[in-house]
Subunit: 142 residues, 2 copies
């Protein structure tokens, strides 16, 4: 199954050594995609939530191509604003995200995906969620 992952997202820096989560692509329906309103830069915020726990893991940005790939491959693809390139979440770190369900909001300008999080977590710091710093606890967290 890891071969299939590679074909979706390119060579993985961290070899896969466990049981790979199921890959469950979502239907790509043009009626859905027509509802999405990308901003002037061609992007839409994408909230990533953990399936089951409901933890909000991170927020990234998707362009039309990364949104389509996310649905088609069942893996989360973002657009990197700093590097100006598509990236498949977790391909380098091993902390992959497997899409289970997805929604778009009433204005069509934000998307939400429920994922199964693999590896250490969503955050490059090693934390499970990128939202590990709580307002009012700056002293504990410094």
């Amino acid at each position: 199954m890891s071969g299939r992952s590679k074909s979706f997202c390119g060579a993985s820096a961290r070899p896969y050594d466990g049981v790979m989560p199921a890959v469950t692509p979502l239907p790509v329906d043009e009626a859905d995609l027509a509802e999405i309103r990308f901003d002037d830069a061609g992007l839409v915020p994408a909230i990533i939530q953990e399936d089951g726990t409901g933890d909000v893991l991170m927020m990234g940005w998707m362009n039309a191509e990364s949104l389509r790939r996310t649905l088609e491959t069942g893996r989360v693809w973002f657009w990197s604003r700093s590097r100006q390139e598509l990236w498949c979440k977790g391909e380098t770190s091993g902390d992959r995200q497997y899409v289970r369900r997805g929604w778009y909001d009433c204005d069509g300008d934000v998307v939400l995906f429920a994922v199964e999080q693999e590896g250490r977590g969503a955050c490059h710091t090693g934390n499970h969620t990128c939202f590990y710093r709580e307002f009012g606890h700056a002293t504990d967290q410094s």
Copy 2:
């Protein structure tokens, strides 16, 4: 207690007729606020999640003033990009949001608040969450 709500957010179009949720302001710590990286327009995306259920209710935008008011008043304040003004969520609709906890992400460029949602829900359509349309179900939802 509804008088106190009015003093926070202005006159309410829909009179309050039930038991008002507790107002629980969060500490305003300058060490937290210094970590927030607003974008070129002076804004940061704010994800609103329901306390308890974990449902992601909506995403709005906050500037420095609305973020500070959100912490200080325990009510959710956004910056309306279309109207170019501060707005206190639910003051017109009655669908108020009472802040319970808040976090900021590893890059400091997204904030997350857990709230108690009052009224019908977060969405102006009357839905509990703004993310009521699911990818792959366009036909059911039309």
